[in-house]
């Protein structure tokens, strides 16, 4: 019996289920590169005397929004809104199946878990890629036909980086959804996953400073190194700091590789996850233990950082305080698990 990654019947079902969402994403992603350009072109043709952005209409006025976007990444829709929407879409297409229990119906039909998740990913990733290709071709076509403020190279570079980051965010959010339960949990996990390196670097940076673990004069370089690596491991960073001409092709390849790894991991976890109504927070280990240790460390770290800030002290007293809070919170968890209603 073959194990496939694509199932036509499932793809048909996914399209029926999510087509409105896909069209919505297409409209939002096309606002700047397509609709805004067409709108400006039409206005310019109808009212050539009108003023645009404080200036008279020129033959290349239509391309101002695109030029900002592809030259410096300056477009809040594509830089901020679309990554969030892609994350929500990935989470929705898995978590929704659990919350209305339709996964039970699906898994009782002749499809494998691999086909279920893989088809979801391939269809979603295919739609995102198709929208981006359409927009790139649109920008390319207009650039060839009309005078424009952006170059084909800039559009191509922006297309490559943005598409790869979108795909990686989609795959990472899908991975988060594949090991969690309902929509809220999955969304929370996806946000944590996507911003994890930056959050971790911030906490570690502050904590190490509070513990006085940096060698005295090297505090700033150490924190900068930490921030550098954390930023480069955080996907939205690439969109936030995009600038035409500064793109490293290896970065694009590594982001695509990361997307493939997230996708394969998502399938692997989904294949081994129980499909109870609310899923499981983490099925690879004892989720209660992970929650207990994770929350205890986080609360202890935050308390230590805050105390160091208030008392303006650092070093071993803060380290001691950190250990104390960790054990206190752990004990509280143990008490709740033992005597509380944990159902």
């Amino acid at each position: 019996m073959k194990l496939l990654y694509w199932n036509k019947a499932l793809a048909w079902k996914e399209w029926r289920q999510n087509s409105l969402r896909f069209w919505g994403l297409f409209i939002i992603m096309s606002l700047t590169p397509v609709f805004s350009a067409i709108f400006t072109l039409a206005l310019g043709a109808l009212y050539p005397e009108a003023w645009f952005n404080g200036g008279a209409y020129h033959a290349n006025t239509w391309s101002e929004g695109i030029a900002l976007m592809v030259n410096s990444g300056d477009n809040w829709i594509m830089r901020t809104l679309v990554p969030i929407l892609i994350m929500v879409l990935a989470v929705l297409i898995v978590a929704e199946e659990r919350s209305n229990n339709s996964l039970e119906f699906l898994l009782a039909t002749p499809v494998s878990r691999r086909e279920v998740l893989s088809t979801k990913f391939l269809l979603g990733a295919g739609v995102i890629t198709a929208i981006m290709v359409f927009e790139f071709l649109f920008m390319l076509g207009l650039n060839i036909c009309l005078p424009a403020k952006y170059s084909i190279g800039a559009a191509g570079e922006w297309f490559l980086l943005t598409t790869s980051v979108y795909l990686a965010i989609f795959a990472l959010a899908l991975l988060a959804a594949s090991i969690t339960g309902n929509f809220r949990t999955a969304l929370f996990a996806a946000i944590i996953f996507i911003y994890f390196p930056r959050i971790l670097a911030e906490i570690l940076g502050e904590l190490f400073a509070a513990f006085d673990l940096y060698p005295g004069m090297f505090l700033i370089p150490y924190r900068e190194t930490l921030a550098f690596w954390a930023n480069h491991l955080t996907l939205p960073y690439y969109l936030d700091h995009y600038c035409y001409g500064q793109l490293n092709v290896w970065a694009v390849l590594l982001i695509i590789l990361a997307a493939i790894i997230f996708y394969r991991l998502a399938i692997r976890f989904f294949e081994h996850n129980q499909q109870e109504r609310n899923g499981q927070a983490l099925m690879l280990a004892n989720s209660a233990q992970i929650l207990k240790v994770g929350t205890s460390i986080l609360l202890a770290a935050l308390s230590a950082i805050i105390l160091a800030g208030i008392l303006q002290i650092k070093g071993w007293p803060i380290l001691l305080f950190f250990v104390l809070v960790y054990f206190l919170v752990s004990a509280l968890f143990a008490f709740v698990y033992r005597y509380g209603d944990t159902t």
Partner: protein, 305 residues
């Protein structure tokens, strides 16, 4: 060599750390048989069925459907297996025809003509959205899908749930037709009249443990209620009868409920020289209730004030 529709060996399921839902289940359902699974609420019937359908995983043990190991991750395993759960979980925003469209694409033996006939016979409007359907209508849809895939094995979890008596009986008749043409039927139900009418084999499961599996006719033939009057009260030997389920007293009359070894027990009771003795048939429902009570599943309460 016997072919098995379902073969389960040492199957266990533990939720979390402690909650044992199934405990070392061994079960074999012959191909072409109609097999009824009985048990009180929370016995583990639905968990067992979900494991068989690959919806949840067992903690240990193995199972095979139509000779195919359920641990095989491929979906092909289920291409000729129909499943009707107790609660239907179709996509609420889909139209009935979308659900059928998906099934038509995914089941290789989908019988379009049969589906059309069933839709018409059971008055299911294909242009309605699933969320507009009543519970009974959703159950009808699930049964129509189950019958349209031309199954070799049908797994039903409380098949009558939400259906009126007429529709339920009609679906059961259709399943019996499937059984007559060689399909295996495995169903769990609390409706013991339905089970008595349909099943040729039964199994009783309680607190995750399989109490027994046997032919229904054989079980019924070996079970009786014997009413007797003994001159000097209930003899001690009665308590040692094999298969004894319960002894009830009404005045001088003792009702001895036997769940097994009827013929052998009858001779033993005769040997005790009762003043009066009569043998009564026992319904499957009573038999089940007495079996459960013997196993400690009792909810007898004093009269409420």
């Amino acid at each position: 060599m016997q072919n098995w529709a379902i073969e389960i060996q040492n199957l266990s399921k533990i939720f979390g750390r402690k909650k044992v839902a199934l405990d070392d289940i061994d079960l074999a359902v012959p191909e072409g048989s109609v097999f009824g699974l009985m048990g009180p609420n929370g016995a583990g019937k639905s968990t067992l069925i979900k494991i068989l359908m690959g919806i949840i995983f067992p903690s240990s043990g193995t199972a095979a459907l139509l000779g195919r190991d359920i641990s095989n991750p491929s979906g092909e395993l289920r291409q000729d297996i129909a499943y009707v759960p107790e609660v239907q979980n179709f996509y609420p925003s889909f139209y009935v025809e979308d659900i059928l469209g998906y099934c038509q694409r995914v089941y290789p033996n989908w019988d379009k003509k049969r589906c059309k006939t069933l839709l018409k016979a059971f008055d299911l409007p294909i242009e309605d959205r699933v969320r507009e359907l009543s519970k009974g209508m959703k159950t009808r849809l699930a049964h129509i899908i189950a019958l349209s895939i031309r199954p070799r094995l049908v797994i039903l979890d409380e098949p009558g749930s939400g259906l009126d008596a007429v529709i339920k009986q009609e679906f059961m008749r259709l399943y019996m037709q499937e059984a007559a043409s060689g399909a295996g039927i495995f169903f769990s139900t609390h409706n013991l009249h339905e089970l008595e009418r349909m099943a040729d084999q039964v199994a009783v499961i309680m607190k995750g443990k399989l109490l027994f599996q046997r032919s229904l006719d054989e079980w019924k033939a070996n079970s009786r209620k014997i009413q007797a009057i003994f001159p000097e009260g209930l003899p001690e030997e009665i308590k040692d009868l094999p298969g004894l389920l319960r002894v009830e007293t009404q005045g001088k009359v003792y009702s001895i409920v036997l769940g097994d070894h009827f013929t052998e027990n009858l001779e033993r009771i005769k040997a005790l020289k009762p003043q009066y003795m009569d043998t009564l048939d026992i319904s499957l429902e009573d038999l089940f209730v007495y079996t459960m009570k013997k196993e400690g599943y009792s909810h007898e309460i004093a009269l409420l004030e």
